[in-house]
Amino acid sequence: MSKRDFKVVNQPLRKIDAMTLALGKPSYVGDFKPDDALIIKMLGSPHAHARITSIDISEAEKMPGVHCVLYYGNVPRIVHTTAGQGYPEPSPYDTFMFDSKMRFVGDRVAAVAAETEKIAEAALKAIKVEYEVLQPVLRIQDAMKEGAPIIHDEPEARAVIPVPYEPKKNMAAHVDMEIGDLEKGMAEADETIDFQFYNHYGQHCPVEPHVSMAWVDREDRIIITTSTQVPFHCRRIVAQTLDIPVRRVRVIKPRIGGGFGVKQEIVLEDVVAMMALRTKRPVYWEYTRAEEFISSRTRHPMLMRLRMGAKRDGTITAIGLDCHSNTGWNGSQGLTVVCNSGSKMLPLYRCGNIHFEGTVVYTNLPAGGAYRGYGATQAAFAFESAMDEMAEKIGMDPLKFRAMNHIKSGDTSPVFRALGEGREGVDQAITSCELARCIKAGAREIGWKRRKPHTTKKGRYRRGIGMACLMQGSAIPEIDMGAATLKMNEDGSFNLLMGATDLGTGSDTVLAQIAAEQLGTTLDQIIVYSSDTDMTPFDVGAYASSTTYLSGQAVQNVALKVRKQILKVGADMLDCKPAELTIEDAKVVRKKGEGQVTFSEIALYSMYSANQFQIGDISSKIVHHSPPPFAAHFAEVEVDTLTGAVRVIKYVAAADCGTPIHPKLAEGQVEGAVMNGICYALTEEYLFNDKGRMLNPNFGDYKLYTLSDLPEMKTILVPSYEKTGPYGAKSIAEIGINGPLPAIANAIHNACGVRLRTGPFTPEKIWRSLQAGGEIPFEEGH
């Protein structure tokens, strides 16, 4: 397929649900709460590590208005993973609906369903619990020490795919890979570096917290409406956890108020389903903001050691990345996140000697999960900071150093095969890469030429410029599958039914554009219905930067099939061969000569006139490649050397996502991800006390940026054409969040000579580093 003029794709169209949402029409789970719904509340463990020695729910059960109390003593004990991943999941089975062992402050003790929230809360207070308090594990470096308390000592804990899993050592996963010989590469280098970095806890903070409701219908099926990114995985895991057949569960995703990965997880659905089954009443459970911080999911904190060797001519001779990832109280997404720390950054620069090792440990802290960037965010911080440090050591401009080493179109990397998602990866050559143009365009926009060494800067306020290069992927090759159904209506409109899950990204719009483009009609003729396990075909869901690339191809394929059916009916009507026809503006027309029929006439004919059939079809797609999007990010910052405060003056993100199907939405993905990344780099931080309790689970003490914090931000979409993607598209959703940590760290260094290796970059850390002459001793943070 070659580049061509698009009519719907790549056009400035309005997102199809934008006005509905701007008008405040009922759209989200909470907007559909039935008046008679019981309200669920959860009693959380006050201890990070403990065993329940006795629990008495009788007083709570007796309270008027209380309909059900669930705890480990009255629910099935079925080990599973909460990770919404394909089956068999690469995450270990280490979680129960309820357990007698508490593994973090906030862990499920018991849940109450009651007529009102007040009654539910009062009932929680009436539950009497006694604990045997155990020593908690609160640091990565403590988790695998000899004699460390064992967090998952239950006999059921197991890995369901053949990967290293040693819960008795608090090890939730391990992966390693070597290409060439790291030590040989280090020995060949003129300069070497060996540094540690630490990526801190962070939360997705969707403005809508997790929310789910369920009821049992007249056929005794459980209908779950939930804010999920993975309706089909949700259905499967709920059925597994309740020990009921999949056919008895229906999962519906309405609009959801942001996800960013945190809703790729079964957090509430098992309990709402069980409560609905037990009470035969509609039940509703919405996390408080504090619960969202503590009990949903977070970014996996990582302790990383980065080694690199290079020659003075700029050749990289060795790269070693050793990650210790904190997966918290359960192992959700632990293995695959750390795999992505390797697979999404190591191919970026050509190097013959690469060693990668990832170790995932349990702690008694909040659980990591999927979070936009998915391991690449962590690795990019270490890797791209190190690239600057190495450039300085060999006396080369960091831009030039990257430009001469980065992967280019036509290249491959042995990392692609060596490292997949919990298993061996898939060989691929890069078929589109405009990173060189991203670097050039971004450098021009930020004014890279005026960048001076930090040693030349004086005065209280010092400005600096830093940059970082990035890559991600587009879907998980040979694993992820998406499917779509398309059918035609009498007026020439179409129903597009997809498992694909729009979590606010605009994928319903993007996929409808692809359908409209292929069919030869307009966007308003596509009626989208997505993410309902009874009504739509399967899709893995919204993760791994997959929807546009993967589900987009499923949609493109089904639209092509339907297009052929339309042409065939048109040929019947016009008494000619389909090959003599084409489609223009929702009409089938003869390529030569007179004669045309409208889509509506075709639909009416096929339904009512002759050889009647439903024009429509279904297509599935798995992908064999995961073409990376690329980006070059640039930050200009100002450091106040008196206070250590840092301010981002300007941020430039130049990204190659292939054809942007919807340019404004693609820009929005970059801008949202970048702002999230800036905020994570500078302010977002989990504070814990020495017993593992989070001290700041609210938006007052966990600072998210607002409009008033917005720096000058420039997004440059550098076009390329990914021939394996739908209309040349690849992904854009995740990559943007990986840039701010390293780009800002590098800019801070360029401003005042301070090198930060632990986020967030608080005034205190910068001030202390300035006092220490540039760097403070490394320590593992939170």
């Binding site: 969707p206 605009g506 404004k664 820009e667 929005g668 949202g672 998210l704 409009l707 917005l710």
Partner: protein, 158 residues
Amino acid sequence: MNMKTITFTLNRKEQSFDIEPDETLIDLLRRTGHTGTKLGCDTGMCGSCAVIVDGRAINACILFAFQANGRTVETIEGVGDFDSPHPLQTAMADAGAVQCGFCTPGIVMTAKALLDEKPDASEEDFKLHLDGNLCRCTGYVKIKEALLSCSSATGGES
């Protein structure tokens, strides 16, 4: 139950409601079908529940319902509809400022309160007034563009 009756003007219509004394305005609004007002944090820190009370944008999650008694309350449902959207709603939709859309009603209400008072609001005015509205999707770039297009001083029609 210890219900009280309050009366206030909601979206230009005077209405009476039976409320509990400790009920918040957002709970009252949402249980009476005004679900466009969203609950994001329940502590007055995210702005997704912003409504306009006597001309000022206020977080409905930290206002008791009884505090609305005798006052004028405007919610997103009173601002526009498909056939007559408010210019802010059109601007947000057209700018690509609506991603997940959960924060959008709060942003529209907060910005509307400002523009009702000051049609020529400046960029600084928007920054000050919208400082309590969190959006995690857009990075605020397109929101800013939408808001500025609605001010007579920064691009909108006078």
